[in-house]
């Protein structure tokens, strides 16, 4: 993914941490705020050590006041600072919707270009181990609905750092959607600051039989599914949109033009989601002339339950992805992978706490 030197294996949370650190080093106006960013757990490691390096003026916790704190971050951004505002769960962004939707997204436009809001909102999607209804939601599509906001979803440590740095450099409000279950995953990450461009989907794996678009933690699941499919002779192309908004659908359309089949796997509900948007864009694409076979997978259309017996069927899995892809390739397929084939190492390991 990179031509830079000094690559090391880094965990996702370490990459987020390094991205924040280097962004703060690069520019004195960058600061980090949010509940618990300065405690000894440091947002599951992703902010650990930063208060020691940059001091409590630039790294500080806040009262439990998500709404006003978002306004404060926006105001500071308007006044020339570049805040990174951290929320340990994406669900809590529902408390900040007014400031994000009615102020952050709109200020540059509404005030005729006279102000900018270079704000970064970091949020983590939770999963498993009883996170349940209010600690598990991937709500990126709500933000992608609103012009003026950008939203990115790093699926690996490399993107986590590069997108973080790019988000801070961007002059608009950017929401970074991280994923708790990715925190322990590793990738090669350059030591130097670098940025991952917004609005460019990444082809993770080439293939001719079907296009699988996977978002956030679903990328890893799709890769696993693709391995299972390969054993059956089906060759999947996997695309990670990387940025949810702006969305590069051209890369997806080109792939689907080639494969004629599209499976979208989101870490969210389907209805009115980015999966629908991708499906619609492909359906409306001028470059695709044939009727495409499309399916979407995502959260079940229910609230997220806590018990594993229900949670297991709430989320897409390598198994359900592989089966859906196989059926798109040939509706008469009856193959199903075994549970064992499907288990993802990182999921087996996760045991909390939060």
């Amino acid at each position: 993914m990179s031509t830079l030197d000094n690559n090391r294996l880094l965990k996702y949370y370490e990459a987020v941490n390094e991205g924040c650190e280097q962004a703060m080093q690069e520019d004195d106006s960058v600061f980090l705020m949010g509940l618990d960013v300065d405690d000894h757990k440091g947002i599951q490691g992703s902010t650990l050590g930063l208060v020691d390096k940059f001091g409590p003026e630039r790294v500080f916790t806040t009262p439990l006041s998500e709404d006003a704190m978002t306004g404060v971050a926006i105001g500071a951004a308007m006044a020339g600072q570049r805040p990174i505002h951290v929320h340990i769960r994406m669900d809590f962004l529902m408390l900040c919707m007014n400031q994000l939707v009615n102020i952050a997204a709109k200020s540059h436009y509404m005030y005729g270009g006279t102000v900018q809001v270079p704000l970064v909102v970091r949020t983590i999607v939770g999963k498993s181990w009883g996170q349940g209804a209010q600690h598990s939601q991937g709500l990126h599509s709500m933000f992608a609905h609103i012009p003026g906001l950008k939203i990115v979803a790093p699926s690996n440590a490399y993107d986590a750092k590069g997108l973080m740095i790019q988000a801070v450099r961007d002059n608009n409000p950017v929401i970074v959607m991280e994923h708790r279950l990715l925190y322990g995953t590793e990738a090669y990450v350059p030591k130097e600051p670098y940025s991952v461009e917004f609005g460019k989907s990444r082809v993770i794996k080439n293939g001719n039989d079907i296009t699988i678009v996977a978002i956030s933690s679903m990328v890893a699941e799709a890769i696993k599914a693709a391995e299972l499919l390969a054993e059956q002779g089906m060759n999947a192309e996997i695309i990670d949109p990387v940025t949810i908004s702006p969305l590069d659908s051209t890369t997806i359309e080109k792939s689907v033009k080639k494969t004629g089949r599209l499976l979208i796997v989101d870490n969210a509900w389907l209805n009115c989601g980015i999966s629908a948007e991708i499906s619609a864009r492909v359906a409306e694409s001028d470059i695709i002339t044939q009727k495409v076979k499309i399916r979407r997978l995502g959260f079940a259309a229910t609230t997220c339950p806590t018990t594993p017996s229900l949670e297991n069927v709430f989320y897409p899995s390598p198994k359900s992805i592989a089966i859906a892809a196989s059926l798109l390739c040939d509706p008469s397929n009856t193959w199903e992978p075994t549970e064992q084939q499907c288990e993802l190492a990182y999921q087996k390991n996760f045991k909390g706490p939060f």
Binding site: L35, D36, D39, H40, K41, F60, T61, T62, P63, L64, S65, E66, D67, A68, D91, F92, M94, L95, W129, G130, Q131, G132, A133, Q134, H135, A300, A301, T302, T303, P305, T306, T307, P308, S309, L310, N312, V313, F314, K351, G352, P353, F354
Partner: protein
């Protein structure tokens, strides 16, 4: 103290039940049978025990994700709670809630929320319904010190005071939100003064004096039943356990065991227990241990929900 005897026993039984249930949870936890993050309130049990003591079955309580105590003090079903922690179909929410969202509609336990502060207006809504229906039930809503920083707390108090709703607001001030000390979050410690500006009775209890708390709550619950509107109580307290999980964490550097020692010396579970006739106490303790053992048994032997039940309860 003689006149307090019956209530002493009742209060001890509540405090002890909550203490022992949470200790049991902590013990089971490493086995991974409990499929849920748990927020223990060991050391804080006396607050909900005292305040809920005089409530009737038709009254409501609302707790937080740290809500085992509130649930049990109000008479919530222990078996159903334990099964819920295990993720079982016999749980109080059929495995959909875990420890953070306990509910027992039959006992007036309003469903608890894991989004800090959000239960407060929901509890006020129950008080509004009571008033509209011209009943004389009351609502008690518990919250942490952190929850009072949320805007919806101020909004809720104001509304309850305007409409003189029958609701008692209780702040369990353990001076921590996760690991963050209150000094970083509150401009001043004057919350009871602030609450008084809404024209409602407001009182702070800086000591774990279960009887004073009990008396105050009783008086104001009676007032509320007469339609005289809300009141506010702040109870300074101390959380023995880590924020989430079964352990203590004084070794983590963010707080010292020293501050804890003073609180542990004043442990209500201990002092109240010691004040009882040993025979009475032994009987109560035995009853509690039996209940807990039965609940664990119930939880362990209950089935998980079937995958087909995933779509049950999305819409009513």
């Amino acid at each position: 103290m003689n006149e307090y005897k019956p209530v002493d026993v009742r209060l001890y039984e509540k405090v002890a039940l909550i203490r022992r249930v949470e200790e049991a949870i902590a013990e089971i936890y490493p086995s991974d049978k409990i499929k849920s993050p748990v927020h223990l309130a060991i050391g804080q049990e006396y607050i909900c025990a005292a305040i809920i003591e005089e409530l009737l079955a038709t009254d409501y309580v609302c707790g937080t994700y740290r809500g085992h105590g509130v649930y049990l003090a109000k008479g919530g079903d222990l078996n159903a709670m334990m099964a819920e922690l295990y993720g079982k179909k016999t749980g109080c929410a059929e495995g959909r809630a875990g420890s953070m969202h306990l509910v027992d509609a039959k006992q007036g336990v309003i469903g608890m929320s894991a989004v800090v502060g959000t239960g407060i207006p929901v509890a006020v809504g129950h008080a509004l319904a009571i008033k509209q229906k011209k009943q004389n039930d009351v609502v008690v809503v518990f919250m942490g010190d952190g929850a009072t920083e949320e805007g919806c707390f101020s909004e809720s108090i104001n509304f309850a005071a305007i409409h003189k709703l029958p609701i008692l607001f209780v702040c369990e001030n353990n001076q921590l939100a996760i690991h963050e000390p209150i000094e970083k979050r509150w401009a001043t410690p004057k919350i009871k003064e602030r609450m008084a500006t809404y024209g409602i009775p407001a009182h702070q209890f800086s000591e774990p004096d279960i009887f004073s708390i009990y008396d105050y709550a009783k008086t104001h619950i009676e007032r509320m039943r007469q339609g005289e509107g809300p009141a506010f109580m702040e109870c300074i307290t101390h959380r023995w356990s880590e924020h989430v999980g079964p352990n203590e964490d004084y070794d983590q550097g963010y707080r010292s065991i020293e501050e804890s020692i003073a609180w542990r010396k004043k442990d209500v579970f201990l002092s109240l227990g010691q004040s009882l006739d040993p025979e009475v106490r032994a009987m109560v303790d035995k009853r509690i241990e039996q209940k807990i053992a039965a609940a664990i048994d119930f939880a362990e032997n209950s089935p998980f929900p079937e995958p087909e039940e995933l779509y049950k309860y999305v819409y009513a």
